[in-house]
Every structure is written in structure tokens, then in C-alpha cells.
């Protein structure tokens, strides 16, 4: 069973990023759960969701000990760095995570300039998909082709085929950055 936490500012697309991973898992015959942190949320505050996937079944959907945390801003990094599983990954958007990331020697911090990459592709909104590409590469559970097929299937069902090329480019850019 794998656990991934997606965290960032509201509006950075972390809930959608988590859903993309969950749909990729389903598309590739795995079971998956997605659960947001809900409760008293504050405008401008942080937002996060937890995705778990497994070939057989997922027990509790809640946050426990993530194999990877995607942190898109400083508060997210600080909040989650201590719950990453030993041997796991902290995947950070190095354009916005400026705090000291050298806090644990039992995890790997992957620094991806996600904002720079997405701006370079012409859309700052593509940040979450760039980071999903990097996450898929780091986790190593799905090939690039398997993941892109799952992602495209999800957006096609939402009637967003028009953005398919942009999404694929963003995904590939993130994937290659790891």
C-alpha cells in the first residue's frame, strides 16, 4: 500500500493533483482512496489531500505515514516533513519552498522548480500537473505511458479534452525533471 500527501495553498491544484494520481491508479487496475483534510479551513491557508493505492485494497483512507509528500509551499513543507516514512520522499516546489529543507537524513528531498517549469510552458496553472509528473517518476509504480493514459482518461471524462496536449507536456516536463 502506498500513501501520497499533496499539500499547498488553496488554488495551487493540490486536490486535483491527488485525484489525478488516484485515477491513474484505478486506470491501472489498482484500488485507491482520496480524502481531503476538511474542517475549519481558512482562505489563503493550506490545503491537502491524501491518496492511498494498493493492488488489493486500501484499509483506512486517513493520513498515516506517507511514502511521498508533495509540498508546494513553505507551510506545507513544515507541516509534513516529520511524517514522511523513513526512506520516503519530500517532493518540493523549489520556487516557493524557501525554508531549510535539510532537516532529516532518512528521507530524500527532491527539489523541482515547478513554478519555473509551468511558467515556461505558458501556464502557471500547470504547476500541479508538472509536480504529478515528477511524483510518478519518484514513486516508480507506473510507467510514464500508463500514467499519462490514466490522466488523459480522467480529464476526457470531465470534458476537458481541449487541454490534453498542455497536460501531457506539463506531465512530461515534470517527469523529466526528476
Amino acid at each position: 500500500m502506498k500513501e501520497v500527501v499533496f499539500a499547498g495553498f488553496g488554488g495551487q491544484g493540490v486536490l486535483t493533483a491527488g485525484l489525478v494520481l488516484a485515477q491513474i491508479a484505478l486506470f491501472n487496475d489498482k484500488k485507491a482512496t482520496w480524502i481531503p483534510e476538511y474542517g475549519a479551513a481558512m482562505r489563503g491557508g493550506t490545503s491537502n489531500c491524501t491518496v492511498k493505492y494498493d493492488p488489493e485494497e486500501v484499509g483506512s483512507p486517513g493520513q498515516e505515514e506517507p511514502d511521498l509528500v508533495m509540498a508546494l509551499n513553505n507551510p506545507s513543507f513544515t507541516k509534513f516533513v516529520n511524517i514522511v516514512k523513513p526512506g520516503g520522499y519530500m517532493l518540493v516546489n523549489s520556487d516557493l519552498v524557501t525554508v531549510d529543507t535539510d532537516l532529516r537524513d532518512d528521507i530524500t528531498v527532491l527539489k523541482i522548480p515547478g513554478s519555473t517549469i509551468s511558467d515556461g510552458l505558458g501556464s502557471s496553472k500547470a504547476l500541479n500537473i508538472v509536480m504529478v509528473g515528477a511524483m510518478i517518476k519518484a514513486m516508480g509504480d507506473f510507467t510514464k505511458e500508463e500514467a499519462i493514459a490514466g490522466m488523459n482518461d480522467m480529464f476526457a471524462k470531465k470534458g476537458k479534452n481541449d487541454f490534453e496536449m498542455q497536460n501531457v507536456r506539463a506531465f512530461e516536463a515534470g517527469y523529466e525533471a526528476v
Binding site: L26, K31, G62, E64
Partner: protein, 356 residues
Amino acid sequence: MGDMVKGNVAMGEAAIRAGMHMYAGYPITPSTEIMEYLSWRAPQEDRVFIQAESEMAAMKMVYGAAATGARVLTASSGLGISCKQEGVSYMNMAQYPGVMINVVRYGDGLGSLMSGQTDYLREVKGAGNGDARMIVLSPSSVQEAYDLVYEAFDISQKYKSLVMILTEGGLGQMMEECEYSEMKTVPFASWGYTGDRSKDEYRPMGMGADVYAHALEMAAKRVTIKEEMQRWESGFLDDAEYVMLGYGLPGRAIKSYVKARRAEGEKIGYIRPISLWPFPEKAFKGINPGVKGFISVETSDDGGMVEDVALYGKKYGSGFEKVPVYGLFCPPGIPTLRFIGEKFEDIKSGKMKEVF
């Protein structure tokens, strides 16, 4: 392959596909997406959707619509269901079918926004004033939430009883794979009021002249429901030294925990009740006679189901009356396997004492 669907959305769609005619409700976190979804979906299928001025009004609207033979639904959370109790009791007295969903938020009074299972005692032990019970079903996954709501309307009509889907904030808010079943088109029940006085049969508002007959009829109905409606999932019971019991999210958590510990040789089993009333007492029949303890795993201050575990656990098997019953009460939120594991060690070492 199904797609990722939010629990609340799946339950709303299940009601539509089960032939629900009418929904009335009042929004409250964490159940709101059910009515938000139905506000969009019900008109598409030519069903009635009403956002009532209060929880009480919503329940009375549902009561009135049920009197016409319509398939009715209301959904809320914690305190919202408290407000509905008068209507619940009236529907029980009239033996009108209807489906309710409680997406539980943790706590009493206004409660909190955290997920929890703190409404067990109200839903399972009572249904307003009188002796009435509701059939209470609790899902552990989004697919099961969909399936139970889809079936609940038929169960409700079969037994002329309210059916309560007792779920949790966490399940309402989470997404998981869900496949939808076929759309049913269901006519209004033939016994419903039509508004045509020449055709409608007079039915008294109260129990009628023969209260004794009503009492016997209700008692007999509950015996039938107890016999026919017990549902559960279980595993590894025949040689279990400890048996964990949990419903809803703790139910899936213990199943996962037990499987993992079994792989390490720990003799532990699980029962995941799906029906909470009637409580699945038949599940105890296959348990190892040498079992050392029953453990009720609940997201609750100090437990609700633990009382039923004690009551029914001690009813079955030789020597079960001496088996200690423990309460493994998870804090507000989503239960974690780590917490369950730590508390299980406390039980085995004797650090945690039994409740019963």
C-alpha cells in the same frame, strides 16, 4: 472500471437510480454535498427537490410525501437528525417507508467538523419516542454506501420501516472507485393517499382504536427484521484469540489491520457489522470458544457499539459470558492503523482494562 466518486455524491446518485421521488433537507457539513448534488440531479430526472427552511420542516415534508406512497429521502448530520426526531417517530408510528442518511460529525450539541461515530446510540437504540427502531445500515466504502442507499428504498418498503444509512464525515468526503447500477423507475406505492376523498382510505393520525393490536404488530415486525436483516462481514474467527469489531471506516481499518497481523502469525479475527440494527448477533456463532477478548473499535468518546458487543457477544457460545469486552476508542477524525495497533498491544499486555 469505475471512477473516483465522492461518498456523498455516490449516495445522492444511488437515491436517484433507486427511484427516489422526493428529497427534502437542510444543509449541514459534512453531509451537504448530498443535497447539493440532488439539487442539480433531481430536476434532471423529474424528481422533487426541496431545500426546507429547517430540519424539522424537511422531515415533515418527507413524512407527508411518504403518505402519498412516494419514495422519500432526507440527509443530514448529527444535530440535524436530532431536530428531525419528532418526524421520525411519527413515520414509525404510521409505518411509512423512508430513507435517512446521517453523515456523522464528531460530538454532541453543535459537535465538530471532524469525522466520527458518536451518534450510534441514538440511531441504533431509538427513533424518537416510543419503542420504535429504524433499520440501520453502515457502509465502509463508497461503493458500499452507493449499494446500501440503492437497496435501502426496497428494504424500507418491504418492512414498512425507516432505513437509516449511518455513515461518517470521512466516508461522505472521501473519493473511491464506484460503479453505478441501472436506473429504476418505480411507481408510487398503491396504498398512498391520492387526494381523492372518494378513493382514499381513512387512516387515523394516531395508532388507531386498537393500541394493543398495534403493539403486537410492531413487535412481530421487529422479530422478522431481526431474523432477516442481519448483515456483516467477518474473517479469521475460528481460531481467533482476539476478535475486533468495527463498522464504517474503523470497520475497513480493522479488516486491513487483522489481515496484516495474520500474515505475521497473530491469532486475531474481525467482524464488520453492516447492519447495526438489527445487530448481527449471528456473526458470533463461528468464533473460537477459547477467545480471550472482544474489542469494539469505534471513533467515539467512550463507545456506543461496545454495549452491543457485550450484550450479544455474551449471548453466544459456551463460556463467552466471561470473555472481557474492550473498547478501542479512536480520537475524532479518520482512524489510523498505527493507533489501533498501539491500543491492541495495550489490551494484550493488560494495560488497558475491559469495559464489560
